[in-house]
């Protein structure tokens, strides 16, 4: 079933993607005590597949507990997957040795969500942004490192004098710029942006979104943009994948997903966004209840308990991602 959906996606994309994820799983064991007979698992990521072409952005959306952050970390091998494949430029990096990973890590970087927690408070900006340069031998000495960091800071809209300061001396938006400069330091091809603007004020979010888009154009970057904010995702993505409790429930080009959301969960996410000017007066159906969380994933369709269109069959069967329109896959009984 996984292969089918991945083949379907490959067919849609028509060329060698930069990143290709197949059947990715991450199950966290939760033991019931020393003498527990059976193992209970948190199925955080449960059979996720997608591709990202070079120069494009895949928006990965979902609410808390859907597994999107875990997916981002698995791709970078910041966590080891339980199963699956992650191909970067055609090669499966899950089989790489530490030495091979070192080389690949230069090309794959991450921007974290929390600009307060992701910068070491005891390091100056120059050290934070330049740390990778010496490790990967992109700068031979401190002087060269300082010069490269200076250029990076300029690229993200900061100044030279910021080199000597500590994180606590900056605002949230500025710290996030430092995080972006750090991600760019090694000239990567691929960046996982894990909710990079959620912690920022609205007017600063706009500045950072513009920066990320400018950098993408200038440097030919490929992004996996993880977010719960559908407005921002629409603005920045070429493709969008919607996750729920560890699985992708719908994936399509950006224009197609927002114009024709098919999965009831996607529809409810869109309906839930507070909009200033509602196009028509009809209030779309709101979804009830809360997700059961990844530790208590139900059998059958995971959205069953909250779905306004559920039937008996949904509780007993699972539905794989299926191509339903040009550049649009959805996993639902309805299609």
């Amino acid at each position: 079933m996984t292969t089918n959906s991945h083949e379907a996606l490959n067919f849609l994309m028509n060329e060698q993607p930069l990143i290709s994820v197949t059947g990715l799983k991450k199950h966290f064991p939760v033991t019931g005590g020393m003498f527990a007979k059976s193992q209970h698992y948190v199925r955080a990521v449960d059979d996720v597949s997608f591709d990202i072409r070079e120069g494009e952005t895949l928006g990965l959306v979902g609410e808390s507990g859907c597994g999107k952050t875990t997916t981002g970390r698995l791709i970078l091998r910041l966590m080891e997957p339980t199963a699956g494949q992650v191909c970067f430029e055609g090669d499966n990096i899950l089989g790489y040795s530490p030495k091979q990973m070192l080389a690949v890590r230069r090309k794959m970087q991450i921007i974290f969500q929390d600009p307060y927690a992701s910068l070491n408070p005891r390091m100056r900006v120059e050290e934070i942004v330049g740390e990778g340069l010496l490790i990967h031998k992109l700068a031979t000495d401190r002087r060269e490192r300082k010069e490269k960091v200076r250029q990076l800071l300029q690229q993200v809209g900061l100044q030279s004098e910021h080199l000597y300061r500590y994180p606590h001396e900056f605002s949230g938006g500025q710290r996030q710029r430092i995080g972006i400069a750090r991600a760019l330091a090694l000239h990567p091809k691929f960046i996982v942006a894990d909710e990079p603007i959620s912690a920022l004020d609205v007017s600063i979010q706009a500045q950072i979104i513009n920066l990320l888009q400018d950098l993408q154009q200038e440097l030919g970057l490929t992004y996996l943009f993880i977010s719960h904010d559908l407005r921002v995702v629409k603005h920045i993505s070429n493709w969008v994948a919607v996750m729920y409790l560890g699985k992708i429930v719908e994936i399509a080009t950006c224009a197609e997903l927002y114009a024709h959301p098919l999965h009831p969960y996607t529809q409810s996410l869109l309906a839930a966004i507070p909009v200033i000017h509602r196009k028509n007066n009809a209030e779309p159906a709101k979804v009830s209840g809360e997700s059961s969380g990844p530790a208590n994933v139900p059998d059958g369709c995971r959205f069953y308990h909250r779905c306004p269109q559920r039937t008996r069959g949904c509780q007993e069967n699972t539905f794989p991602l299926k191509s339903v329109a040009d550049k649009h896959l959805v996993a639902c009984r309805l299609y």
Binding site: A206, Q207, H228, R231, H235, L269, P274, V275, K279
Partner: protein, 322 residues
């Protein structure tokens, strides 16, 4: 009809080692009975400090309400003793905070916490308070209320905890509910449910509400009037529909323009971001505080503009419109 809450030129300053932070610097607001006023602003605008000032919860030191009055139901809250205020907090004015995990006491059961205001203010005994708590929890959409009253906060999800906070706030039928970013910490589908719940309860109980948020979308759907705060001052206020169709202050216009719009047909055009950052409130700029970031700034902006009514309840503080 006289307003239930009238804030007159409140100034709340924080006296720190680094200097005086002018967090709220001359704010006036009023809320009619049963009305919902949305107070919108970003970090550092002073909106939470305004709410805490109303509840007289500003830590002293380093904070102090240095001038102004807060009239609630005809009485000045700034002149009341702590005892008198205790009789109002949780009873006539209730508050729902942003982070339900840190606002709920982790060592008491849900039942004990929801019951507390009723036992304190209404003199209920344990049994009465427990029964009423179960009713309230059901009213806020927690169907397994009999079980939840015996649980502790850490056993509940974010959405459930926020419902508990709302139940706590409503126990004594307050006349005014202050909700400080009540849904920011929640997922968007849960947020929609909680907002729906708040709207419904407000209508049922006939409460007024001060809703504080940075999300203009929320305010558009819940509030009848909106006030926009920037750097400790109110820069614009109007009826909700009017504000969104005719925003007058450059900051309001900038905020609206910087939100990616779901209805945009071209998804990748550049957002109109407001350049720069909010001013340091230790030493706010002279004159209009938005001037350094404003694309319509003129010489006159070196003088501070006043909040003036332009037409039909629409107030703005900007030289460009006077």
């Amino acid at each position: 009809m006289s307003p239930i809450l009238e804030i007159n030129n409140i100034k709340t300053h924080f006296f720190t080692d680094a200097g005086v932070v002018h967090a709220v610097d001359g704010v006036s607001l009023s809320i009619a009975p049963q009305e919902t006023l949305g107070l919108v602003g970003e970090s550092g605008s002073g909106k939470s400090v305004t709410a805490m000032s109303v509840m007289r919860l500003i830590p002293q030191p380093p904070g102090r309400i240095v001038s102004g009055s807060i009239m609630f139901d005809g009485r000045d809250l700034c002149q009341m003793t702590e005892n008198e205020l205790c009789g109002i907090r949780g009873k006539d004015i209730s508050m729902v905070f942003q982070e339900p995990m840190t606002s709920l006491n982790p060592v008491f059961t849900i039942g004990e916490q929801v019951a507390e205001p009723m036992r304190l203010h209404l003199g209920y005994n344990r049994k009465q308070a427990l029964e009423r708590s179960i009713e309230l929890l059901k009213q806020v959409g927690i169907s397994a209320a009999e079980r939840v009253v015996r649980q502790y906060p850490h056993q509940l999800s974010g959405g459930m905890r926020q419902r508990v906070m709302i139940a706590m706030a409503l126990g004594c039928h307050p006349k005014l509910l202050i909700a400080d970013e009540p849904t920011t910490a929640l997922d968007v589908t849960i947020q929609a449910q909680i907002l729906e719940l708040i709207k419904q309860l407000k209508a049922e109980l006939g409460m007024a509400m001060l809703l504080i948020t940075h999300d203009l979308g929320i305010v558009a759907n819940v509030a009848s009037r909106v006030a926009i705060m920037y750097a400790g001052k109110i820069v614009e206020s109007a009826e909700t529909g009017e504000l969104f169709s005719h925003p007058l202050h450059p900051y309001t216009q900038g905020l609206l323009a910087s939100i990616p719009d779901l209805t945009d047909s071209c998804p990748h055009k550049r957002l109109q971001a407001i350049p720069g950052t909010v001013p340091n409130l230790l030493s706010p700029p002279k004159g209009c505080r938005f001037q350094p970031r404003c694309d319509k700034a003129m010489d006159k902006c070196n003088q501070e503009p006043q909040l003036i009514e332009t037409h039909g309840g629409h107030f703005v503080s900007c030289w460009n419109k006077s």
